[in-house]
Symmetry: C2
Subunit: 359 residues, 2 copies
């Protein structure tokens, strides 16, 4: 069975096997990680090692903090303005549903300028980054780096004229190397490439961690509280962090982000090459902005699409139904999806195309 879910999504089998083996007793602690005090030495090692592995994988500079928080990306939509909006102004690029949610949330706290958008063509492309006009008083420029629903990805970053760049990388973190220094703040909900839902990772440059936040910011929504307490201000989502640490180790064992990128490009090419040659299926995204992680495609007949999803499921290819705003199908092929899964999908599509030739 191959699980093409957009998130929560497939996890490496090795990670799940280890977790199952350690469920009743972690190492020789006599207890499950779920039963451990978050102030214990054993948990300090778990969270410390998770952070260090992530730092190594992404080459995170020393002047950035790594935080393991709760509330998902949706809570970051509020934490970012509450902590970073000194002037109460932010520039956003609108590339889809999650970008829009961040815009709407930002408006609760200040002025949001949408400085570029691809809404005119159902977010099937990334707006032109050259000649982008950043507002003089903007506290930051915000992007959603990979758009899970629409299958687009920023392959070129906006020039921010020295303004802080904030990126939601929920659906493509760890899929390829990134230069963290280009960003002031990166966040990512865990449930795609990192681990189970209920953990959100924040990578934030130290100068952005301030005590001066917007009035009425809850203590739990201050980056400074979590940074000062090394993500242990209150009880963290400890078991989730433990699984994240295992996934980080798995990525490291796979060869790190350069190897992941090679593997992800190989997987994506299998699928995109097939789509480009197909007369039945059609990718929905302009080529240069295609995501390595989320591949939406359509047939153009609701009936045939429903048939495809149903027969694919029967063949062990799960969760291929597209998001309702795009329709059609979507294959999410995150880090943990093996090449064999994509090959099986392409094979199935080929067979389906033969059996259902375009009229």
């Amino acid at each position: 069975m191959y699980n093409f879910s957009a998130g929560p999504a497939v996890l490496p089998e090795e990670v799940l096997k280890e977790a199952a083996e350690e469920m009743l007793e972690y190492k020789s602690t006599g207890m499950s990680v779920m039963e451990m005090s978050h102030r214990s030495q054993a948990f300090a090692e778990i969270i410390g090692e998770a952070e260090q592995t992530l730092r190594n994988l992404m080459s995170i500079p020393d002047n950035y903090k790594v935080l393991f928080l709760q509330g998902g990306a949706s809570q970051q939509f509020a934490m970012v303005p509450m902590n970073l909006m000194k002037n109460r102004v932010a520039d956003h690029i609108n590339t889809g549903q999650w970008a829009k949610k961040a815009i709407a949330e930002g408006k609760l706290f200040g002025r949001v300028n949408v400085i570029a958008t691809s809404e005119d063509k159902t977010f099937s492309y990334i707006p032109e980054m050259k000649g982008l006009k950043v507002s003089e008083d903007a506290d930051y420029v915000y992007i959603c780096h990979n758009n899970t629903i629409y299958g687009t990805k920023f392959n070129e970053l906006p020039q921010t004229d020295g303004k802080t760049l904030v990126a939601d990388m929920s659906s493509d973190i760890l899929s390829e190397p990134v230069d963290v220094r280009q960003y002031g703040l990166i966040f990512a909900g865990a449930q795609k490439n990192i681990g189970p839902a209920g953990v959100v990772v924040v990578i934030i440059r130290e100068d952005l961690i301030r005590d001066e936040v917007l009035p009425g910011t809850p203590t739990m929504l201050k980056y400074k509280i979590h940074a000062d307490n090394k993500s242990l201000y209150n009880t963290p989502p400890a078991y989730g962090i433990y699984i994240c640490g295992k996934v980080f180790k798995w990525v490291e064992n796979m060869g790190g982000l350069t190897a992941m990128q090679r593997r992800n490009e190989e997987k994506a090419a299998l699928l995109y090459d097939y789509l480009d040659g197909s007369t039945l299926f059609k990718g929905t995204v302009v080529k240069k902005d295609r995501s390595l992680m989320n591949v939406p495609f359509v047939i153009g007949s609701a009936e045939l699409e429903a048939k495809f999803v149903k027969e694919a499921k029967a063949a062990g290819l799960e969760n291929l139904k597209g998001h309702r705003t795009v329709g059609g199908m979507r294959a999410s092929i995150y880090n943990a999806m093996p090449v064999e899964g994509v090959k099986a999908l392409v094979e199935f599509m080929r067979k389906f195309e033969e059996e259902n030739p375009r009229a």
Copy 2:
């Protein structure tokens, strides 16, 4: 080995065994619960059954919603005022560290009246509830129902003159039957009696769920958003909720809350009776306010206390060191602690007392 940690704490072994067995594949879904879409039928059943079992256990009336949220009790300290403070006034009872944190957070949003406190005697008792003066303009009266650090519990509720009663039940929910109708809102971090850290359960009367919240309240901090979306506004901490559901079932199989209360009273009596007869050890809480869940005790010699904690650990009795603000020792004997664990502790204390008689 017995784990007396104050939280995260011991979980039923049956629950962990089932979780280990289902880690790679939940029922015949072909995937782990961690890999499941939160919009899938399988997860809908998991969260639906968790809620229904909790409703049955606590006899939660139909006009209360049950929410599974993130951020722990600490985030509730902000959500309660942001959602409930119409007049920007709250009455609080100060019974310890977590009560104080809620007071401090409440002050970010309005006026907080501390209408009773036991701070004068290191929170070793619950203030007198009779003749309590509730403020006329208070939006609610707030209590911390069981005080994990100090080992006290409200055995009598404050008379609130019709005001909404809000209770933090993080450390004693499910330990005995409660009359939910006495409360407007109950919340509880999962990591003591419910499941793993990273889930907080909120039980809220429907009339308190309003669209009108304080200005600047993040979307994720509105009860209404979560109630309208049945805790699926964004990706919930799905694996944690799955474990909570298993713990609820375990409590049900144990005979429900009346049976849990009997068992908890039996366990607590073993320990308190021994403490009351000991010449070496001494409980720190006045008898009538003693918690069934957290039992702090002292020797009065830092040296002997350190020796006790060390030797207990060597004997397989873990996490007995008291909180730094009380000193001494603390045994947390939550629902999942078997009677045998408390017997082993008392046996060990008896032996220790014989070997270390008071000079």
